[in-house]
Subunit: 353 residues, 2 copies
DNA sequence: CCACTATACACAATCGATTGCCGTGGCCGC
DNA sequence: GCGGCCACGGCAATCGATTGTGTATAGTGG
């Protein structure tokens, strides 16, 4: 059906091999021949067959990317950054949205591997790295993104979540919050790191965190902002509701703000809210949302560069250990924490990032 | 390096062919043998090599999806729906975000085709179908999504944009708007269809649309909401600013609302705003945004089903003409057009959808 | 003018599967 | 007891490229 090398070769009265080499600028082939080949390729509309090439080269030019939810702006932006860098080198990214379902994720990864990926990037919904270990042993470069596992050596690209928790918490304290609550995200490394950053910072400032101030957001199939709404209702039903909330991410924080406005709570005066991720939509919502930037696009780009470093490394240079790329985000203050104090330059980024 | 069929075969003392057939449940192979094979496959961690399989079967199990912007929730959601349905049948989707750049889009499509896609889904940024024609002729099923071209026969899945424009406009008229403006999106079929739906409806109701009420949103590299902000500034600088705006999409509308609030304009009393797409974030923004639903996820799923119909069709049944799947969305009223009238049940969907 | 070396191209094996066709053994009926 | 059918499995060709090793032609020096 489709035009293949043999067709070009026959048409030109030369060997298939010559065509192959001509197309890849092999020095064996003279300029004149190369030009003749190129011309015919244009005319006949020849397209290389990557499946055939993969078979012999062992490289598929495909990178897998497993995300918990492609609709989440963070992961969509990571995907964009990842693709943008990789495509310049001829790679494509195949994406799978696991919907935070560990089982589905496993199946998808298994299936992806059949395409002989040149690398696999995973923002995993697993609770352990058990399912990932076989991948790594198979020789396919594995890159954990955003979420990592203890006791599992692997490349990692993500943000400094502990520090993000610290930055957010210190900001809330600085603007005068005393009773600060935290709404947790999914049970993954960013979740526990941000929580730890929060708790350590509170302790350091001598502030108490009663257990009921730590809300485990339900992890069903409702949208993230719904979690925020529910969480705020729970918090407001307490004898002493918090005067500040650090939310795991901006989607949850958006829900909190929505519900706060609905309840007639003054944000930020009565209740200050900060999230994490610095989504573009933060400035559009009911009360523009302060956040810690997460540099999503850059995370994707860094992951791509890491992959390129690995696959382009000379043959013997492989066992160089694993690499960790940890990006620092900066504080972005908007109305949701703007009480008119010193550190409140609305919409202005503070710190590196 | 990796385990292959030959390894399993040698290990079991049977032929490679037997292994191949056993794995695909070929009737030639006895249950006992099949089980022995399955067991070894597990033990040795065998994974089929799809590149090799593609070479002989001619099917890559890969579907390409070209979007203008993966960060736009509409396309991200379409991608999710598309992937979800296709993955059940063993297909993967490779996504390319063209950033509304026709040239980049062409390059990406060309490159994608090298993977011998089983189908290509395109939400094109091209102004004509010129670049797409060769694809179609190559025999790869081509599906236009969301955006189509005149004088170009191809499968299409998308929403009824003319009707969306009509629904939105009629709603604005119904709540009492007299001077209605429209902010255009990119210069593609949905843009012109929604505009036409708007203009026809205005005419039908005897309402005038001065040319300065049709704003061509710039299509640079700024975010969509920025267009909305700029557009509203332009409109407000007119002698007679509009009392209602129908925006091409919700992202632009979000910008309009942001700017309106900043200018102290009362939405919806002084200015009613409606968008298109019914993004999840619509209820979170400054003034919750009315919209015409676009059923993004369903569009993706329908595209997937169409692909499956095509690729699973019996050999001879191919030339069945092109198919058009046009989904109807419904009106969703929120605060941005809620003037307390009859048709204003906040957040409630009206009509089919 | 011959041997020698680049230059330019071709042969054949290979990558890891699939597929149509053929071969073997056992069991049946007549 | 023999032909024949069925169930099970193997042979060999094939898919469309890449790659190391040959081999003819052309150009060069002594």
């Amino acid at each position: 059906m489709a035009v293949k090398m043999k067709d070009i070769a026959d048409d030109l009265g030369i060997s298939l091999v010559t065509v192959s080499k001509a197309l890849r600028n092999h020095p064996d082939i003279s300029l004149k021949t190369r030009e003749r080949v190129a011309a015919r390729v244009q005319e006949l509309g020849y397209r290389p067959n990557l499946a055939a090439r993969s078979l012999v080269t062992g490289r598929s030019m495909l990178v897998g990317f497993v995300v918990p939810d492609l609709m989440h702006p963070f992961f969509a932006d990571v995907a964009k950054g990842l693709s943008a860098v990789l495509r310049e080198k001829g790679y494509f990214v195949i994406i799978s949205s696991s919907e935070e379902d560990p089982e589905l994720e496993c199946k998808e990864i298994e299936h992806m591997m059949a395409h002989r990926l040149d690398a696999l990037v995973v923002a995993s919904s697993q609770s352990s790295a058990e399912a990932l270990a076989p991948i790594q042993q198979s020789g396919t470069p594995l890159i954990l993104l955003d979420r990592y596992f203890d006791n599992f050596e692997a490349h990692f690209v993500g943000s400094d979540d502990y520090n993000a928790g610290k930055i957010a918490t210190e900001h809330l304290i600085e603007i005068g919050c005393k009773r600060i609550a935290h709404i947790q995200g999914p049970d993954t490394s960013p979740g526990s790191r941000r929580l730890k950053g929060f708790l350590d910072t509170m302790r350091k400032h001598g502030l108490e965190v009663p257990p009921e101030y730590i809300i485990k957001a339900g992890s069903g199939d409702v949208e993230g902002d719904e979690h925020g709404i529910q969480a705020l209702r729970t918090l407001q039903s307490l004898k002493r509701p918090p005067d500040g909330i650090f939310c795991f991410n901006d989607v949850i924080a958006s829900g909190v703000i929505l519900e706060a406005v609905a309840q007639g709570i003054d944000v930020p005066k009565t209740l200050a809210v900060i999230g994490c991720g610095n989504l573009h939509s933060n400035r559009l919502i009911r009360v523009p949302l302060s956040s810690v930037d997460q540099r999503s696009n850059e995370i994707g780009r860094r992951a791509a560069k890491l992959i390129l470093d690995i696959v382009q490394a000379p043959e013997g240079t492989k066992p160089a250990g694993t690499k960790r790329v940890v990006l620092q985000g900066g504080l972005v203050v908007r109305a949701s924490t703007d009480r008119g104090g010193i550190s409140s330059r609305p919409g202005k980024k503070i710190g590196k990032g």
